[in-house]
């Protein structure tokens, strides 16, 4: 029994990890009132940057760093257009996804058909010897452990630090935040760049550790699922963290059910996360109080200090 459960737990944790990174990143971005729908594009760029660096240096950490920088560069593009120039965030986000996906496939040409073999690190081997959790931890790359730290950090930042409070205030009411004297645009830049960096890590995780392979279509819509996830999580880090594994686990459950001979249409099961997201959105939106507590009030709306 336990031999059956452990692989599933590991697989769910692995499948959820890119969503944890991309989701928490986008969550911080959206908490500041910025809706960046270019997550998919940023993940693609992160994925190819990390793949290229791993191929050249063999160093996964360097690769993750490269992915963060590359995806952040894309988020700067978004920030300049959508924050400074106050262009429509939906349009810029969509264009960013098309841009990232195309650029990724353009830059990725030389890496086609290459595979990376990342040996388990010494840390993982050490973790495998731990009692109880060893069999699970030992199979997860430290980047997965770091995603748990990230969750803790994001939660602490948003709810226990002054800067987090300011960031949330900017998302709620940029006008008041500005009136009190907070640099609204600078905070939104920070939040957007953070979201970009995390999407980059998510992409790096998929290309270097999850699959070890570069191919076009590698990200396969996971960036969009991250956008849905943030809504599903009602913009709260705890629910986002749990939701990432729920969404990742939903894929696993669907594959598991199929191989166990349970004959539900797989399309219906694939649609469940999206349906669930709509339901959650309706549940929180119908009540004005819950809505105010959940959705950043200025989400998607550009801010101008002149107004």
């Amino acid at each position: 029994m336990i031999e059956q459960v452990i692989p599933l737990v590991v697989a769910t944790l692995v499948a959820g990890t890119p969503l944890v990174y991309a989701g928490l990143g986008e969550l911080v971005t959206e908490r500041a009132g910025v809706l960046n729908m270019g997550v998919e594009g940023m993940m693609v760029i992160g994925a190819i940057a990390a793949f290229a660096v791993t191929q050249a240096t063999g160093n996964v950490w360097l690769a993750v760093l490269a992915a963060m920088v590359a995806a952040m560069a894309l988020s700067v593009l978004f920030a300049v257009l959508a924050i400074s120039f106050r262009a429509n965030q939906v349009a810029v986000g969509l264009a960013l996804t098309i841009f990232g996906t195309s650029l990724g496939s353009y830059l990725g040409k030389p890496y086609v058909g290459m595979a990376l073999v990342v040996e388990p690190s010494a840390l993982m081997q050490a973790a495998a010897r731990l009692p109880l959790l060893g069999p699970i931890l030992g199979q997860l790359h430290p980047l997965v452990w770091l995603s748990w730290l990230l969750f803790a950090a994001v939660w602490y930042f948003l709810y226990r630090t002054r800067r987090g409070l300011v960031l949330r205030a900017v998302g709620e009411s940029p006008t008041s935040a500005h009136a009190i004297g907070y640099p609204v645009q600078r905070i939104r830049y920070f939040a957007t760049l953070f979201g970009g960096a995390m999407a980059g890590v998510a992409g790096a995780y998929v290309s270097v550790l999850y699959t070890g392979l570069w191919t076009e279509g590698l990200i396969a819509g996971r960036g969009w699922i991250a956008v849905a996830l943030v809504v599903f999580a009602t913009w709260r880090p705890g629910r986002c963290f749990a939701g990432a594994y729920l969404f990742g686990g939903a894929t696993m459950a669907q594959l598991f059910a199929q191989s166990a001979g349970i004959g539900l249409p797989s399309e219906l099961m694939s649609a469940l996360p999206y349906i669930a997201t709509i339901v959650v959105l309706v549940l929180i939106s119908r009540n004005a109080t819950v809505m105010r507590l959940s959705v950043p009030a200025s989400l998607g709306k550009p801010f101008s200090a002149r107004a």
Binding site: Q4, P7, L8, W214, A220, T251, Q258
Partner: protein, 366 residues
């Protein structure tokens, strides 16, 4: 539905093809370069289907150095665009034009009769038509043989299959895989998981994990990136290179493999066009000389007896003595689908909508 039957269609097709092969097509002059066009639906970066399609025209260029010029388009994922692009390839003087997937077939069927300046070939097309040849591999001959290895090597008697989509090649492929396994190990069963994506390596990895969690110890499949093999290797179980040899990636745990080798389809068609003898044909070929299915590497750990067993079965298939879909074959519900001693006809194999007894998994209902 159009009112004519497939038989009528084949008759007209044959008549037209005779007419078009009636000697007027000129052979290429000795110094003339044959221009060949290929449209890939996906990216060639896909390590499976499109990759092997691309290998074929690479082989063609190599077979006729300086005599053949291939123009290739990839990532033409919009079926809407196929018709225009095939037409443009034709007007640009490509005398031989290849489509690489079944979704291009409808466009080609419509275009080929009117674009007489070029000849068309469609891989995985449904049936030949005027000025349109089709070719497809008998995947099941390869999966039957790899099934023998799987049946011998499994300890849990549970095999796994990761399918991209339930298209004909995949359905008859996985059925034959289990038939091969059961020919040596009647206790073997096969669990099937559909990834519902042509390219989503991460999901294929998850699918392997799901199969392993349910006790599968040999996995094979159809979306074909090395990722399935890599995932299996990580879990310490065997994988099979099905329609692609991934031993360069999967260093230790790839049990056996077969490749789809389309080079003879491309080279023969090009040669026929150069000689002025091209005519539209439907070719469905498996193992053996000039075939599209090639057995490739076996792991050194494969016992010699199993390798010999596979070799013998391969020889029998090539000689026509062994036909994988020979009865008695029952479906999942236990209903007899093929009577003892009889063999499924080609069109029944292509149009299979059922899974053989011992497969755990489902097909979409019609």
């Amino acid at each position: 539905m159009p009112s004519f039957s497939r038989r009528d269609f084949l008759k007209t097709a044959a008549a037209t093809s005779l007419a078009s092969a009636g000697g007027w097509q000129p052979a290429l002059a000795a110094d003339e370069v044959l221009k060949v066009g290929v449209i890939h639906m996906g990216a060639i970066s896909d390590t499976g289907w499109e990759h092997y399609q691309a290998e074929a025209w690479h082989a063609l260029e190599k077979a006729y150095p300086g005599k053949v010029k291939v123009t290739m388009l990839e990532n033409i994922s919009q079926i809407q665009d196929c018709e225009r692009l095939f037409r443009q390839l034709s007007t640009q003087g490509n005398k031989l034009i290849f489509g690489t997937t079944f979704s291009q077939y409808a466009s080609l069927k419509k275009l080929a009769p009117s674009l007489t300046g070029s000849h068309f070939e469609c891989c995985a097309g449904i049936e030949p038509g005027p000025n349109l040849g089709v070719f497809e591999a008998r995947h099941y001959e390869g999966t039957y043989l790899t099934g023998i290895a799987a049946g011998r090597m499994t300890k849990s008697n549970i095999l796994g299959w990761v399918g991209a989509f339930p298209v004909p090649q995949v359905i008859y492929g996985l059925n034959a895989f289990l038939l091969g396994a059961r020919s040596v190990n009647p206790a073997a069963t096969l669990k099937v998981v559909w990834a519902n994506a042509w390219v989503d390596p991460a999901k294929e990895r998850d699918a392997v994990a799901a199969l392993v969690a349910q006790g599968a110890d040999v996995v094979s499949g159809s979306p074909n990136s090395p990722v399935q093999g890599l995932a299996a290797e990580e879990k310490g179980i065997w994988s099979i290179g099905s329609t692609g040899d991934f031993s360069a990636y999967v260093k230790k745990k790839q049990l056996v493999s077969f490749e789809l080798d389309w080079s003879s389809a491309h080279i023969n068609a090009a040669k026929a066009v150069m000689d002025g003898t091209w005519k539209p044909e439907g070719r469905w070929r498996g193992l053996g000389e000039g075939g599209y299915v090639k057995m490739t590497t076996n792991t050194p750990e494969l016992p010699a007896s199993v390798a010999a067993e596979m070799k013998a079965a391969e020889a029998d298939i090539i000689a026509g003595k062994l036909k994988p879909f020979t009865g008695p074959i029952k479906d999942q519900a236990g209903t007899q689908k093929v009577a003892a001693g009889s063999t499924l006809a080609d069109n029944d194999i292509k149009g299979m909508t059922w899974l053989v007894e011992g497969v755990q998994g489902t097909l979409p209902k019609t």
